[in-house]
Amino acid sequence: MTTATPDTRRPVDPTVQHQIEQFLYREAELLDDQRFQDWLELFSDDVHYWLPTRVTRTVRERSLEVAGPEGAAFFDDDKTFLRGRVRRLSSGQSWSEEPPSRTRRLITNIRPVELADGTFEVRANFHVLRSRAERHHDTFFGERTDLLRRIPREPGFQVARRKIVLDTTTLLAPSISIFL
């Protein structure tokens, strides 16, 4: 789940921790408020937004549990396609989100490390609750590993890479018409 080697990884102090947490809370807030255009701003133009699939395998074969870059995925987007998704969500004709879902993102266990190049690798747990229409409920949970870059303007960071891993194999939902 992590690429950098230990020696190049430094823990962060409470101040940086606070900044990163607020940044991730801010991001979640924009999605829960459905301010998709503003949300898009938080991602670098070279971002890779990825959610690979997962299978059930024996302990011995656990390394093969999560699909690799050449495998099946739920998301495998670049900035351009993220823009397209946002355009669609704002079209008023995206039927699986029109009327819109109600979502709530619990972002917890935020574990940042600073890498040699001054970027931050942040692992965090998430539990996203979604309700839509009259009584439909979905729940998505797992771990995100983000690569954050400092930027000289508000809100101070940018997501340069996001890998999402769900703790499920068969998705017990009709769709992921939201962002995670």
Partner: protein, 442 residues
């Protein structure tokens, strides 16, 4: 046997919604439809070496599909005959043998019971192991790398079962000299709807695209001008629909196999392999590979979106979708990757097309909780009385437009015949008569 003649009237294009909700009808479907039909099991590329296995499902029955040492593929129910434990609990892997964890009965790759712990002490050597292997799938057929299986000894051969649909299946499966392979990993998700909504739409429904998928184009295309043109094209492009043996397919008449809808890499590669593709099945077939397809009852694919899936039934009100992306076996990594990502983005649980299909099906199913809602007949009359055969010399019942519900009616006809418990011979007989009548009335 249930009398379903009241419930579906293909000849009038009428469907009674209870076929999507009634638990008894569902149990009968498991027995009469799924246990008698040819069902997709796996593709060659999922079973690279001896011992390679995947767990597949035939409706609600889990089966292990295993590559044998001789290269053949066998399948058997993933259920131990001692007390019914699931023999193997991994989705996929490579095995030398399968040992039941409950009491340790062991099975070889062919699903034969080869070891029973304490056979002497506990069983006095009186157990006949040859009788107690898991239920084998008696017939497994390899069609150009696609393995299909059926429980029914009396079912027609796969070729006969497929009939003219082979033309459309091969347009996908037999398109390239080096064949196709699946992107590693199935995408699996759950939709709370009856399986027939999905199977029928992929068999027969080009009509929903302009309305259901408007916003998908918005995601793919930024320029409003081009958007408008694409939308216009949807409404005006001519097309065809095929219906036979319950299978169905629809496609536009396009002048070229390009653009691929995946991107420049694939376009270039296709362009370079144009001869090869035309050579294998003819230009007409090659050009026809741009639409929606269902092999009865629950195996579907979209040609230019490179997605292939099984709609596993999970009760009358739920399906489990298992989807794969198919790519040209011989194409370079960049091409395969371009196809992979474009399919993920369009047809997957987060795909800009797929999410809106699911929304329709779940809402239909929800509404059917209602008592009056379950009494209102659905209208499947589009193109009723305008069915044609052999349009443009294409094999079988091919009508002269893609905006019709002929294939839906065909699918429900096959469904009704099977549900009525008719023998395969009786069904073939009936179909012949129906088509002759159609010709005359035409």
């Amino acid at each position: 046997m249930l009398d379903v003649s009241e419930l579906v009237q293909p000849e009038n294009g009428l469907i009674h919604p209870s076929i999507y909700t009634d638990p008894e009808i569902y149990q009968a479907e498991l027995e009469q439809v799924f246990a008698r039909s040819w069902l997709f099991l796996a593709h060659d590329s999922q079973l690279p070496k001896p011992g390679s296995f995947v767990q597949a499902y035939m409706a609600e029955d889990p089966v292990l599909v295993v590559r044998q040492r001789d290269g053949s593929v066998k399948a058997f129910l993933n259920q131990c005959r001692h007390r019914g434990m699931r023999i193997c609990r991994s989705d996929e892997g490579v095995a030398r043998a399968f040992t039941c964890t409950y009491h340790g009965w062991a099975y070889n790759l062919a699903g034969e019971l080869v070891n029973v712990p304490m056979q002497e002490r506990a069983y006095h050597n009186e157990i006949d192991k040859s009788n107690w292997g898991p239920r084998r799938v008696p017939r497994v057929h390899n069609h150009k790398g696609f393995y299909f299986g059926t429980w029914d000894e009396d079912a027609p051969s796969f070729e006969e079962y497929l009939g003219d649909m082979v033309w459309k299946l091969d347009a996908m499966a037999d398109r390239y000299d080096e064949g196709i392979s699946l992107v590693p990993g199935a995408t699996k998700w759950v939709i709370d709807c009856n399986w027939k909504f999905a199977a029928e739409q992929f068999a027969s429904d080009m009509y929903h695209v302009p309305s259901s998928h408007t916003s998908a184009l918005v995601a793919l295309v930024e320029d409003p001008q081009i958007l408008a043109e694409l939308h216009e094209l949807n409404l005006t492009v001519p097309g065809r629909q095929f219906s036979g043996n319950g299978h169905g397919a629809g496609f536009a008449l396009r002048p070229d196999i390009l653009p691929s809808q995946s991107g420049p890499e694939f376009d270039a590669w296709l362009d370079a392999h144009r001869e090869e593709i035309y050579r294998r099945g003819g230009e007409q077939r090659a050009l026809a590979a741009n639409g929606h397809n269902t092999v009865f009852p629950n195996f579907s694919w979209l040609d230019i979106n490179n997605t292939m899936r099984v709609w596993h039934p999970r009760g009358p009100g739920q399906i489990e979708v298992w989807a794969w992306t198919f790519v040209p076996q011989g194409a370079p990594e960049e091409v395969r990757n371009e196809i992979r990502t474009s399919t993920i983005r369009s047809f997957s649980p987060a795909g800009v097309f797929e999410t809106d299909d699911g929304e329709n099906w779940t809402e239909i199913q929800q509404v059917l909780r209602g008592h009056m809602a379950r009494k209102s007949l659905f209208n499947a009359q589009m193109g009723l009385g305008h069915e044609k055969q052999g349009t443009d010399g294409m094999p079988g019942r091919v009508t002269d437009d893609m905006y019709t519900e002929m294939a839906a009616r065909g699918m429900y006809q096959r469904w009704a015949d099977l549900m009525s418990g008719l023998s395969w011979q009786q069904i073939a007989e009936l179909d012949r008569n129906r088509q002759q009548q159609e010709v005359h009335t035409a």
